[in-house]
Symmetry: C3
Subunit: 335 residues, 3 copies
């Protein structure tokens, strides 16, 4: 009865052929009433951080497929979890993640985990111990609902949205650009969309201020993937140069791995980066690019109302496509 165990923790967990199949399935079923292929199945989604799009789009996707979606706001509804293997649990944690994961595996057909807020150093947080412990101990597939490093479900919806407008993505000029946000952020959506854009052979420009480099391993892997698919990844440290002639621009803020454990310092450093905003002047440099953002967005800070609400903005399509992307993914994993 137990489905084959297959975790989706990173966008890189999706092979190129598998990704293309998912995208094709998502597009084909968009807006159609489907048969309830997951009737009798249950998803258990664990939220350790706030969520609007992920939580609602998963519940809608599951319900449309006939599955039951069980949401757990973990920090206040279940027990504090121990994550260290062989720990003597005489402290605050009442339950080991091992026991939570194994227990939940007896109840549900798939687990989702959202944990993205900073809790330690960059090296600690990039290891994503909580997410990876759930994946290690659960007997059922574990899906990343956004972590420090990745947000694969968002990225599938993002490339689906690009395909709706550009048909084939191969060789198209895609700029992934940092933008301002007063708050220290995670890397999730940006790492994941970078990997999928590279894997699909786009000409990727990564634009960010010095000190806001993405994870070195992720960028190197994306460069190799892009090369394999006939694309490339280049990095620039100016917004203007980064967006020049782009066909798609994708922006969001992300954190500085240098100042990860010192968010006050990161905030101070960012005071000089307020020009990293998508306004009409920035967009004018592009080749009439599609404008993308995974939301939530700080209006007037990361992008202006004119751009967000403008004719080339597809921000709500990205959000809507979460439903179709996730229905395809759930069908793929459990159907």
């Amino acid at each position: 009865m137990t489905p084959t165990k297959r975790d989706i923790l990173s966008a890189a967990d999706l092979g190129r052929g598998e990704l293309e199949n998912l995208l094709e399935l998502a597009q084909r079923t968009k807006g159609k009433r489907q048969s309830q292929v997951l009737a009798g199945r249950t998803l258990g989604l664990l939220f350790f951080d706030r969520s609007l799009r992920t939580r609602v789009s998963f519940e809608v996707a599951a319900t449309q497929l006939g599955a039951h979606c069980l949401n757990i706001f973990a920090d206040r509804e279940i027990y504090d979890l121990e994550q260290v293997e062989r720990a003597v649990m005489d402290g605050h944690a009442e339950e080991h993640v091992k026991d939570a994961a194994r227990t939940l595996s007896r109840y549900v057909d798939l687990l989702g985990v959202r944990k993205l807020s900073r809790t330690g150093s960059w090296e600690e947080d990039r290891a994503e111990q909580l997410l990876r412990s759930y994946a290690k101990y659960a007997d059922v597939p574990v899906v990343n609902l956004e972590s420090t490093m990745e947000h694969p479900c968002q990225a599938i919806a993002d490339v689906m949205t690009m395909q709706e407008h550009l048909t084939s993505l191969k060789g198209r000029r895609f700029t992934l650009a940092w933008s301002m946000n007063p708050e220290p952020k995670n890397m999730g959506p940006c790492h994941s969309v970078l990997q999928l854009a590279a894997r699909l052979g786009m000409e990727v420009t990564l634009a960010h201020p010095l000190g806001f480099e993405l994870d070195k391993d992720i960028v190197e892997q994306a460069s190799r993937d892009a090369a394999d698919s006939g694309g490339q990844v280049r990095v620039v440290n100016e917004l203007e140069a980064g967006v020049q002639d782009a066909e798609v621009v994708y922006t969001r803020s992300w954190g500085s791995t240098r100042y990860w454990s010192d968010p006050e310092r990161e905030i101070m450093v960012k005071r000089s980066l307020q020009s990293w905003i998508f306004d009409e002047a920035t967009m004018a440099r592009t080749a009439n690019a599609l404008f993308m953002h995974p939301l939530p967005v700080r209006r007037g800070v990361g992008a202006t109302d004119a751009v967000l609400d403008g004719p080339r903005s597809v921000i709500y399509d990205q959000a809507e496509n979460r439903v179709y992307a996730q229905k395809a993914l759930l069908t793929h994993l459990l159907g």
Copy 2:
């Protein structure tokens, strides 16, 4: 595919014919197993304040109609929302209500919003900016799940309950009376039932202490509506005179618009108003009136156990009728 956009923010949003149709539908389907006319539909209900009856009765109503009800306890589950148009979002709020409303409109078929606690001055709170922003930006119908000013779903159930006992409401003597509560309250249920009682041609007596006037615009509108329907609205400032010969009494506490921003002062003023309680002596002045209260009630403070648990009390019928009233409303809006 998107249903026609129709918001129910105020009891006044229901025309008289429409209201009568809703009441007829609610009464006709009460206690009957219905076909799942809303199968495949999703409601997204946003709670910014605590709720027992509204939350449970909506979830039951939706489920019985085949719809999926998605409850969001907004203050802790989603992001802090900016409400000001064209704000530069460099403060605490991570998402603009515009983006939350538009995103949710891609996922659900109807939005509900409950926001009733005091957050500003009377003029600010009576504007109900959060509720009205959702209505403005959402592409799907928005239903008020109780606000500072209104609680239309409660009021539909209330008049439905009166009709069960009195058949026609036209010309019947209805007293809406303030009663004691140590806590500063909103106006919601009282404004809404006042408007519907007036619209249905009842002889309305509004009884409250000086300083606890209901909103002037609402009372004036109700007076005009009552006149149009052959009824009237009169105001008295004594409980005894207010309930004299009433056929229905409806009580709840509400706030003072004078002391809205100074709840400590309001509490002090209320120390001399402890006689505003529904006890057997108060009820003896009525014409064996039905006793109504929208709950929750402070037993021994706003009404005595003898009255609340007495033979003329219909407080649980009001609560139960929420299910049927809301099934009728949902069918009307989405069916």
Copy 3:
């Protein structure tokens, strides 16, 4: 329409024949897709404390039977409740439990209540006023989802798990042993499994440190029940003697009724009780006993990894059997 009112507050509420029928039904339907015998029914589950297994297993059980499960995290989602009969409610509580119970009875077909944290003296907490008030005032069956004193749903799953391994439980040597936990705990699962083991005629050994006696009334009742069924209950105050030759060991920490209102003192007393841990040496004294624990467990404190993850541990089977036990119970109460 209202189902006959039948509350399950204590394991003792299940007669022996009824218990055997439930176990037989649970075992027979385990892992089978059942018809949706509770289609159209709604469960309302009130959680005043954290929950993993109870909440998820009930939601899964209900959903598999076609019922809708409505979870309420009561402390933050509904109003503060008054529990005292005839109280003048001029304090903090906004609603009387009487009104919450009666209102919910108009909406749902069964209520569950979980309230297990310490809030008063031992005498106060053992009276379980909140749970018993819901049972008193609700018109629908009330099921205990774990209280200070009892956890009947866990205990049904526990004896079901024993039966899977031992077939008949009559005359089998069952040791219920206290084990270490830094945190003051309730008595729930231990009281309930003690009663069911006794009722099914097991040879029960109750092992705990001096000062950690279980409730006198419960132990006396269990002794009488055991005697009626051909078994017995004996008490020892050493772990080694307690587990000697046991065929099943069941452990969990529980509180001290002596130090109930002084948890700091209880924690201090427990410093000398760290040898009350289930390790391989403890297990070697048993007759190759099954190892049971209701979870959550403090690994390395109440039991070692070697025991918890060892070949005789059935801790996840106990958790999984919650689903089948509760489906049987729900079918029994509402079907």
